[in-house]
């Protein structure tokens, strides 16, 4: 977070900004359902923070190595829910387990997430000199309430969360009076329908949203493949992860003086010119050789001892890097250079062993040098933090992608936020932590960025519904990076980002504070959605707590008043309706403009919307037709309403399907 808020333009530096106007979210309570909290961390200091908001009705539960004195005016709530976890894991032994049977955070994930959402200012923090700056949350004076529902299962060495425990945590959070619920947890694809209680988060979120609580969830880390996004209910804010404009350049100098910048979190001493090898059979040996990172242990120690080893891998996982480093180190090697696709989290290697990543192009340059030189050598210098241009912003490889596999017409993810190499607090026994701080990557880290921003927006606009807040974030998002450069989406191949990668785009907090117009949703809209999704009337009636009859013919999901238009199966002309609510100056006139989609015609009626003291809501129609003669992929465009001060932009995503419900290989 030492870069996140400056990058997003949410820094206390600018005099008139969202942070100062909301007193940094001081009246807001952010509920977090996760692995618990490390209360001694400085990010939970409550210096300069006023009394606990009057609407708080929660508490601070005692337990193993945790008692109510660990709470303060920052960390105002801490509870834990383990009944279902224990009922399902007979092998779990509460007294033997490494985990704490209390709100205390054994894993470190919960503490990291809480920091990003609402951590207090902690200056002069870095990871061993890298990513230095002030750690803080999006809403530095907001209060944190931790609901621990995720537990470490010692015999399987995994951390997992029962939906029954999560639901109880959500039920308590609704009672306690949180304003935002931040949930960096995900289920596996394929998923269950939204109101199916199998997806506990989704069902609990429905009731939370109806109570005015915005629920922000991570979109999942199963990218870059399409249709992998999770937490896809239309009432949830689903978050994708981007990089920051920050990287950790690590100079590699070859014996022929060619200088290469790889990526690493290498904070050890410079490794002077050292023999460089790519393990391959020179032709006259009967030893085994492998230059594949995962199989470096096939090589004899002699091949790697005292050298820096180059290897190639097709795996995007950081595990392949650490495994390669382990093999080389065990053989007496001095460093490893991994040529890989852009991928997952950058991780340091154990004991500061030099492990540097490059892409295939640079890896091949190094390989050609090795093969053309009689005695190839290389020097590796410690990593340096690069900030700002020319470091570009990308949607992270791992960030799960749309379309929404349950209901393609509901655009998911909604929004993107930085979630790569984020420095924040953790507990002090996590591997690789530096004095209680660590860099982590994932949509787990991106979601609390949005939760912090939501806390500020809600603080400024108490009467906005969760849907209005989501709309404000989506319609004002950057579709470029904050400096106007296009955002690429990592994957093979890398491509320009589209709504299925980053929803409305990269969150722009200052603009979201004054969106001008919002696409709001009330109970009747959610009922429309469930009727359109063919949920039976009795279930819907139970959910909303009153008799509900769906209109006949049943409504179209395309008319669900989302801040996006997604048509997965366009054939005949389609006309859909949207309704805008004025949250800006009373007397406003907005004009429509459409960013065209190839081969798709879009007509907006009327083209001008007039708002005044008596007209706060206006509806309009959008007619969409295709000129394509084949089943196409998605084309993307946008629809913007502008009064020359506010631009209210929603993404348009249209796929022509002349032949419906049809799949082919081409």
């Amino acid at each position: 977070t030492t870069r996140t808020w400056d990058y997003l333009g949410l820094s206390a530096a600018n005099p008139k900004n969202l942070l100062n106007e909301t007193n940094m979210g001081e009246q807001m309570i952010i509920g977090i359902i996760d692995t618990g909290v490390w209360p001694e961390s400085e990010v939970f200091n409550d210096n300069g923070i006023g009394p606990v908001p009057s609407h708080w009705k929660g508490g601070c539960e005692s337990g193993e190595m945790f008692n109510s004195s660990h709470c303060n005016k920052k960390l105002i709530g801490a509870k834990y829910f383990i009944n279902a976890f224990i009922a399902s894991h007979e092998s779990f032994n509460s007294t033997e387990s490494l985990d704490f049977i209390s709100p205390r955070d054994f894993d470190g994930h919960g503490t990291h997430v809480a920091t990003i959402a609402g951590g207090s200012y902690v200056p002069n923090i870095s990871y061993k000199g890298l990513a230095g700056g002030t750690v803080r949350g999006g809403a530095p004076h907001a209060r944190i309430a931790m609901y621990k529902a995720c537990w470490y299962l010692d015999n399987l060495d995994i951390t997992t969360c029962s939906s029954a425990d999560i639901l109880k945590a959500m039920d308590e959070a609704m009672h306690d009076g949180v304003d935002v619920l931040s949930i960096s947890l995900g289920s596996d694809v394929p998923m269950y329908p939204e109101t199916d209680v199998r997806d506990g988060i989704t069902t609990g979120a429905f009731h939370a949203v109806l109570k005015g609580i915005t629920v922000v969830c991570s979109g999942g880390n199963d990218g870059p493949e399409a249709q992998t996004v999770t937490n896809t209910a239309p009432w949830i804010v689903t978050v994708a992860a981007t990089t920051l404009d920050r990287s950790f350049a690590t100079p590699i100098t070859l014996g022929n003086s060619k200088a290469i910048l790889g990526q690493a979190l290498y904070t050890g001493p410079e490794l002077g010119f050292t023999s460089l090898v790519y393990p391959e059979n020179p032709g006259n040996s009967n030893e085994s050789f492998s230059g594949t990172c995962e199989f470096l242990d096939f090589n004899s120690n002699r091949t790697m001892a005292g050298k820096v080893v180059l290897c190639f891998t097709t795996s995007p996982y950081s595990g392949s890097v650490s495994r390669a480093a382990r093999y080389v180190k065990r053989a007496g090697g001095l460093g490893v250079i991994i040529a890989k696709h852009p991928g997952y989290a950058l991780r340091p290697c154990l004991d500061d062993f030099p492990c540097v990543s490059v892409d295939y192009e640079l890896g091949t340059d190094i390989l050609l040098y090795i093969r053309s030189s009689g005695s190839p050598v290389v020097k590796i210098q410690p990593s340096k933090t690069l900030i700002g241009q020319p470091v570009g912003t990308k949607v992270a490889t791992f960030s799960s992608r749309g379309p929404n596999s349950i209901s393609a017409a509901i655009l998911k993810p909604d929004i993107a936020a930085p979630g790569v190499s984020i420095l924040a607090a953790t507990n002090t026994n996590t591997t690789f932590n530096d004095r209680g701080f660590i860099m982590l990557s994932g949509t787990s880290m991106a979601a609390p960025v949005i939760s912090g921003v939501v806390a500020l927006l809600k603080s400024l606009n108490r009467d906005w519904s969760p849907a209005a807040i989501r709309s404000a974030i989506v319609t004002t998002a950057w579709r470029t990076d904050p400096f106007g450069e296009q955002i690429f989406a990592e994957g093979s191949p890398r491509k320009l980002a589209d709504p299925f990668d980053y929803g409305g785009g990269l969150v722009n907090p200052e603009k979201a504070a004054k969106p001008g117009l919002v696409y709001d949703l009330g109970l009747e809209d959610y009922v429309l959605y469930m009727c359109s999704a063919a949920y039976n009337e009795s279930s819907i009636s139970q959910l909303v707590g009153k008799g509900t009859v769906c209109s006949n013919p049943k409504p179209s999901v395309l008319d669900f008043n989302l801040p996006s238009i997604t048509i997965p199966n366009l054939k005949e002309d389609v006309t859909l309706t949207r309704t805008l609510t004025n949250v800006g100056p009373l007397d406003s006139v907005y004009k429509a403009s459409v960013e065209l989609l190839s081969g798709v015609q879009v007509t907006v009626t009327p083209e001008t919307l007039v708002f005044n003291s008596t007209t706060k809501k206006v509806s309009f129609k959008v007619k969409v037709s295709t000129t394509h003669k084949i089943n196409t992929g998605y084309y993307f465009g946008s629809l913007t309403w502008s009064d020359s001060v506010h631009n209210v932009t929603i993404p348009l995503s249209v796929r022509t399907q002349i032949l419906q419900n049809y799949y082919d290989e081409n």
Binding site: A84, C161, S163, M174
Partner: protein, 85 residues
């Protein structure tokens, strides 16, 4: 019993504002299914009573099926597991 698993019994929006009353109704529902107050207490894992109505309980498949058929019950579903993102 060994083949009872944690299930979530989802009843939708609360029908009453008093949480104690809501929880008591959950115990009643379970008691009528299991036949004794002790069994109901042993089976109950959670009562959801603030934001919505429902409960989590250790049930066999046949008990879950019987509950699902009761009026006012939206779903009875085995609980599932989430991972950190």
């Amino acid at each position: 019993s060994p083949d009872s698993k944690v299930h979530i019994v989802y009843l939708g929006e609360k029908q009453h504002d008093d949480p104690e009353f809501v929880t008591e109704s959950h115990h009643q529902m379970l008691w009528s299914l299991l036949g004794s107050k002790e069994d109901a207490r042993d089976s109950m894992v959670y009562s959801y009573r603030h934001g919505f109505s429902g409960f989590a309980a250790k049930l066999t498949k046949s008990q879950a099926k019987k509950l699902a058929d009761l009026p006012g019950v939206v779903h009875v579903i085995p609980h599932s597991f989430y991972k950190l993102s």
